[in-house]
């Protein structure tokens, strides 16, 4: 694996980039630009997964999140707003409430994290063949296996697929012929 100094350097590089891009996502007045920043945050997260030795997940992140979800979001933006559409800055009271809520959550989380002792075991070996291990876990129906969530996720994806088609489909095409579709 990489040396400790390189890991530290990469960690802070990605951390600064991810936080700045995330701030861009939530404050940018042009919504399309926010989508591009979101893609940047997701790339940084894929970099984190690589730093944490999860190569398979980094690939999934790039393929599904950036290749699928962000592209879908960009389509949604182009279908629902004109390019010169700008979102005005949030009013002061809403801004304050948002800052207060998010800041309080952050401070509370950090305090809780600092006071908790985790059973850290960072030097343990990763599984020999990570992808094979993931596949075996997904199809394992013993105690601690993941076959039930796996099946539920597949049903959820099918339901979302059908739901998406039904909600966004063009209506009134067959209205004059009187057929239901």
């Amino acid at each position: 694996m990489l040396s400790e100094t390189v890991t530290t350097l990469l960690f802070y590089l990605f951390a600064v980039a991810a936080v700045l891009l995330a701030l861009g996502v939530v404050t940018s007045q042009r919504i399309l630009r926010a989508a591009v920043y979101l893609a940047g945050v997701l790339v940084c997260t894929a970099g984190y997964y690589l730093l944490l030795d999860m190569e398979f997940l980094a690939g999934i992140q790039v393929l599904v999140y950036i290749g699928g979800i962000v592209v879908l979001l960009v389509f949604a933006i182009m279908l629902t707003s004109s390019p010169e559409f700008r979102e005005e800055r949030p009013p002061v009271h809403r801004n304050l409430l948002g800052l207060l809520g998010a800041g309080a959550f952050f401070v509370l989380t950090v305090i809780l994290l600092a006071r908790t002792k985790f059973a850290v075991n960072a030097d343990g070996a990763r599984p020999e063949n990570e992808v094979a291990e993931i596949g075996r876990n997904l199809l394992n129906y013993d105690v601690g296996g993941y076959v039930l969530p796996f099946e539920i996720i597949s049903l959820l994806l099918l339901a979302a697929l059908i739901g998406g088609i039904v909600i966004a489909r063009k209506k009134g095409k067959n209205a004059e012929t009187g057929t239901e579709s």
Binding site: A22, T80, A168
Partner: protein, 110 residues
């Protein structure tokens, strides 16, 4: 002998604080955005931070297993489903109301 926290090699604490920071930024966006798609993107940020948390605990608490990784894969799948349905709703909402400003959608308000 303890080195200052900022120049140490990143341990679980560094990673967890980073994930919490990303989650809080997403939460701020969720509370202040008015555009429906902006809200959806903030939720994506939060989901992403949550998946990162699972990975951190997988790596630092039980590196020999892949449970956290599986959870992250499930989160990604759920996020994809959420975006599909959300986008369909926003597109049809925009067709009906010609806006995607959530403060002006009050169809279900009594």
């Amino acid at each position: 002998m303890t080195t200052p926290l900022l120049i140490q090699a990143p341990g679980p604490m560094h990673w967890l604080v980073l994930a919490a920071l990303l989650f809080s930024i997403g939460m701020y966006g969720l509370l202040t955005r008015r555009n429906a798609i902006g809200i959806l993107m903030s939720v994506e940020l939060m989901l992403n931070a949550a998946a990162l948390n699972f990975i951190i605990f997988n790596r630092f608490v039980m590196p020999g297993k892949v449970d956290g990784e599986l959870m992250a894969i499930f989160i990604i799948a759920v996020a994809a489903a959420e975006v599909v349905v959300g986008m369909a709703i926003f597109v049809s909402m925009f067709k009906q109301h010609k806006t995607s400003d959530v403060t002006r959608i009050n169809l279900l308000k009594g």
